[in-house]
């Protein structure tokens, strides 16, 4: 698989009045996004996600390092930018224009016009499911519709690469699902998507690979199978048997929650499943279910960010 977005030791420092006030927004970032994948670019607020995207798009300038897009070092050239569609977070689209007028404006910026532009507008409006509202003024659009018109403008030039900054933030579950389906459809068409998001569940559902950024440093990067390696077992036992639950807890089994007389308990990798089951048998606890469970992206995220922040607070060891 070819690499379409690649950064080499990419660094961005926002300089303050004094050296001590410098903000290292991104540090020595080596990122690779492969052709035809959805890459989930994750991190807490202020971790450097948007800064990375802005550097890739040429909106801000790297302090050090290099960027290659589609194998080209002149990533700011118009011919490269024609291959990139970008949806910024919370972008504004002029209220006084109709949906299709917004797209016509952006189409002209791509140098498109005439029948070709009309055809493309028809196609992208259909792709994002806004055909019914194409002639409506933007001021009458809901948040989800605005996000979809934003996605449509990013798709106008039929780009190979789509960079989406928080595409589902603030949307209701139905709109989120619709956007997610559109994105998955685009991936199936062979497009490469770089998605920056806080919505970990959304990312987990559609991403092929993820990268987690903390304080400007890429902590981990890889496929979900590579990263979500921690597996454990969840058992459900009758909650009325308090002695059995106490013994399980003492053995290292964690109670996650108790609902309707059922206690859901997680057996971590450090505790043997058979030991836990032996306790249940000895205490005559009613075992309702036993199921394997893989670590979620959210759990991985919390673990990675927690470790990174912990390391920062401890500071460098002498």
């Amino acid at each position: 698989m070819s690499v379409v977005i690649e950064t080499h030791d990419l660094t961005k420092i926002y300089e303050g009045a004094f050296k001590a006030q410098d903000v290292h927004a991104v540090q020595d970032l080596n990122l690779q996004v492969q052709a035809g994948e959805i890459f989930g670019y994750l991190g807490p607020n202020g971790s450097g996600k948007t800064t990375t995207i802005k550097m890739i798009l040429g909106l801000i300038f790297p302090s050090a390092g290099a960027i290659e897009i589609l194998g080209r070092k002149d990533y700011r050239s118009p011919s490269v930018r024609k291959q990139i569609g970008y949806l910024p977070e919370g972008a504004y689209y002029p209220d006084f224009l109709r949906g299709e007028e917004v797209l016509r404006f952006y189409g002209h910026l791509y140098g498109l016009g005439g029948a070709d532009l009309r055809q493309r507008i028809d196609n992208v409006i259909e792709t994002v499911g806004l055909t019914y509202a194409r002639a409506r003024l933007i001021r009458g659009y809901s948040k989800g519709m605005r996000q979809r018109i934003g996605l449509a403008q990013a798709l106008l030039s039929d780009p190979d690469i789509l960079i989406l900054d928080e595409p589902t933030t603030g949307l209701d579950p139905i709109a989120r699902k619709e956007i997610r389906d559109i994105l998955a459809g685009l991936r199936d068409q062979g497009k490469t998507l770089l998605i920056s998001s806080h919505e970990l569940l959304e990312v987990e559902l559609i991403s092929n690979r993820v990268g987690i950024l903390s304080e400007g440093v890429l902590q981990v990067s890889g496929t979900l199978d590579q990263l979500l390696t921690e597996r454990d077992v969840v058992i459900e036992v009758d909650a009325s048997n308090r002695q059995a639950i106490a013994k399980l807890n003492a053995a290292g089994v964690e109670t996650e929650d108790t609902v309707d007389d059922k206690a859901r308990m997680r057996i971590p990798g450090t505790v043997a499943l058979y030991d836990a089951l032996e306790i249940c048998k000895a205490e005559s606890a009613i075992l309702i279910s036993v199921a394997p469970r893989r670590e979620t992206l959210e759990e991985l995220f919390v673990r990675i960010i927690g470790a990174a922040e912990g390391a920062t607070q401890e500071g460098p060891k002498e």
């Binding site: 798009l57 801000i60 930018r81 977070e89 972008a91 006084f96 002209h108 910026l109």
Partner: protein
């Protein structure tokens, strides 16, 4: 050739969008309505005045007409320059604030092309507003005197070039700013300073009378500023509008030279704007 056409097309698209959006700004509409009210109001107000003339022969002036002219010229100057400053100060910072600039500059659009589009769009707004105010004044004057006030057309043309200079430098300041407040203040400062440059010459002429070094230095600074700053008084034809016949040709003004003078300052302002914006972190 295709590349040039593509470049111009991109800029023109941004200009038209800027113009369409700008003409909807409430502040701008407010200024325009106020100016129209003042221009109409001047005719209405003078209807209650007694017909009075001063002077004799060619120098004879109708006080009522002079009052209309005075009010209208002042209204066009004040509201026109407020519109020019407001729009030039806001077209770029507003787009940075609402992130439209991200979606535009992530397309195959250069920063030069973008700025040119914004600047030309701002000029379209200024020209249309000036044409509206000037047109109303033209009609009011024609209705009053029954003579085609052709002199007014020259005055409006020069007024536009005065606004162009103010607009270009305000635009340059706006490219450094994140909101329209600072560039608006800078625009007003440029307009006021540009109208007071004759005083700088006066300071230079009077400097050195005390023989002290700082007195000389202030004189040199004043002279330097006089040479650098645009003299916006050059564009004013207010006295000719007030005291000449409406269809007289302009006197003592080299209109082509003044247009060239205005264009040089406007280009300088635009170059400063681009120089600031080309490496601006958005």
């Amino acid at each position: 050739m295709t590349a040039i056409l593509g470049f111009l097309r991109g800029s023109w698209t941004i200009s038209v969008y800027t113009w369409r959006e700008g003409m909807r700004k409430k502040t701008l509409i407010g200024f325009l309505i106020l100016s129209i009210l003042v221009i109409f109001g001047s005719s209405f107000m003078t209807a209650f005045l007694a017909q009075t003339t001063v002077g004799a022969g060619e120098e004879e002036i109708n006080i009522e007409t002079k009052l209309i002219k005075d009010i209208c010229v002042t209204a066009i100057s004040i509201f026109g320059v407020l519109i020019a400053i407001f729009i030039s100060a806001s077209v770029v910072p507003t787009e940075v604030e609402n992130k439209v600039v991200y979606t535009v500059l992530s397309k195959p659009v250069s920063r030069f092309q973008y700025l040119l589009g914004k600047f030309v769009g701002a000029q379209l707004i200024i020209i249309i507003n000036l044409a509206l105010m000037g047109g109303l004044f033209f009609v009011a004057l024609y209705a009053k005197e029954r003579i085609m006030p052709t002199l007014l057309l020259w005055a409006v043309l020069l007024t536009y070039f005065e606004f162009l200079v103010v607009s270009a430098f305000t635009f340059a300041v706006s490219c450094t700013a994140t909101s329209a407040v600072l560039p608006t203040i800078a625009g007003l400062f440029i307009y006021i300073t540009g109208n007071l440059t004759e005083y700088l010459k006066d300071v230079y002429n009077r400097a050195g009378q005390t023989g002290q070094w700082f007195d000389e230095m202030i004189g040199q600074i004043a002279y330097g500023l006089y040479q650098i700053l645009p003299n916006l008084q050059n564009f004013s034809m207010k006295n000719q509008i007030l005291y000449l016949q409406p269809n007289d040709p302009p006197r003592d003004v080299q209109i082509p030279n003044l247009i060239a003078y205005g264009l040089v300052y406007a280009v300088a302002g635009y170059i400063i704007a681009y120089w600031v914006f080309r490496r601006k972190e958005l």
